[in-house]
Amino acid sequence: MQPVSVSMALPGQARQRVLRWVLIGILAAALLIWPLFTHDLFYTHIATLVLLYCIGAASLHLLVRLGQLSLCHAAFMGIGGYTSALLTTRLGWPFLPAFVASAIVPGVVALALGPILLRLRGVYFVMITYSFGELVRLLFNEWQSLTGGADGIFHIPPPHPFFATSREYYYFALVMAALCVGFTGRILSSQTGRFIDSIRESERLAQSSGVPVLRFKVMVFVLSCGLVGMQGSLMAHYIHYLSPGAFGFSESLNFLVFNVIGGMQTLAGPIIGAVFLVSLPEVLRGWVELQRVIYGVILIVVMLYAPGGLVMIGRRTLELLPIGRGGGS
């Protein structure tokens, strides 16, 4: 009876896969075409920021899936950003090798620290990453001869003269974000992704099933920090300016909040979170402080009433509608 049920299941699965690719195609087409219809550079600017933050949010998602909530993600973004900015402005490197270095340097730092930090779990890991994040920010501030101190680094060149304006940079960011998020999604849907999930659910069980837990955790940590380092570089070459303030605790918190509010169970969560939470503040500019208060309150309310985040809320609403019922998981 077994083979029959398998062949019965196939058409449904195939249909779902086709449906998914069609949806991705529509989304990609929309993302490619819409800037041609607006002359308002403000929107392409926000969209570019959203895309860049999607990289960081997705990369932190790797760690979240591992069950390790890191509060120093912005520090690694800063390490990447400073690497690429310093190499291009001080040593005159072209963008491409500097960009590659902006992934490698944070990755190497993560590789050195990972075996120590990742032994800790739960709240201990959160506390140590928090302290490390503060330390890195302090380092950016104090090491004036290298980083320019609190003033930061000015006149960081664009990746290529062609990408000097925000609409062109938008397309560049779109390609980079698609590659990075796609890479993250590929990891999560592979065998590695199943190892990651197994480590989150029970480290001991994973260990006893033959998963080299610590080695896997370090590997994921290195990938995640390398990816967010790339975001740092892309931000630096987009805004043409860097300062230590952009890589402190509140920025690390943002990455975590994207994941929490979007939903921590699927990759769609941090993407949705980043789209909402990067674009909303830009649109509601006038009220910076009140905005952060609201931000904090939202965080509490999501934890209390919708721990699955926006993705979960979306799924629930879809299930209530008669159309959505067939496509559920």
Binding site: V123, S131, E134, L253, L256, L290, R292, G296, V297, I300
Partner: protein, 288 residues
Amino acid sequence: MSINLLVPIVFNGLSLSAIYVLVALGFTLVFGIMRVINFAHGEFAMMGGFALLFFYSQLGLPYWLALPLVAPTVGLFGLVAERLVFRPLYAQELPSMIAGLGLSVALADGAVVLFDVHQRNIPSPFDDILTISGFTFPEDRVVVMVVAVAALIAFWLFVQYTAIGLALRTVAQDREMAEAQGIDTSATYRITFFLATGLAGLGGALFAQIYALSPYMGLVPLVKAFTIVIIGGLGSVPGAALGGVLLGMSESFLNTFYGASMAQFASFGAIILLLILRPWGLLGRPEV
């Protein structure tokens, strides 16, 4: 090193330690009993600073009335936070921590909206300098030490010799067992949170008086509390005392000879070392 240099450094270290222990004690207490990492702990310290500013500078109450009023005032705010934010998330370590992060952001930036971001000073009624056998001690630091030590002794007596204190210790050891013995654990959580935020408020008031008062000042006490509990062991009260003294003294020494940022680098280095050798802290117990 001459005694002339040593005495002020040790004195400074002790006054730092006193404040650190006050702040870290509440933090470790909340974790030990409620298993909650209260990320908003620093914001309750900040509240203590503003409460002292209000009672002492604005209402004009005498200092020795204003300062003791700070702790219960902040404790009451703590109770409200406990009811609204932490109680629904009991026994869920990460969700309650994230909610605490939200609370921290909301309180700090709420204070910016209410009080504006600039730094203020709380004038101290004690601006004399004591001279004992040739050594000079700023009087306000002596007061800070006296208050902190008095608060710590009061706390210790309360935990050791009252029925409520016994209940707290029981819950910290084994919550289910305590419940089976008829202890209202939810009530002990409320008392814990009241005490912890009250102590943080008192520490914050003293901190604000020596340094400066601003909405974002909660960050520093929080980082110190993290460092101290990692050194001493998360959830351990003697560990918080030991960690606080170690951190306060070493910061005082390193500050004098190498500068403030060196002190921070060194404390992070010490934490890393400790995490490799003894992740459960000097006086904590390894978790199973």
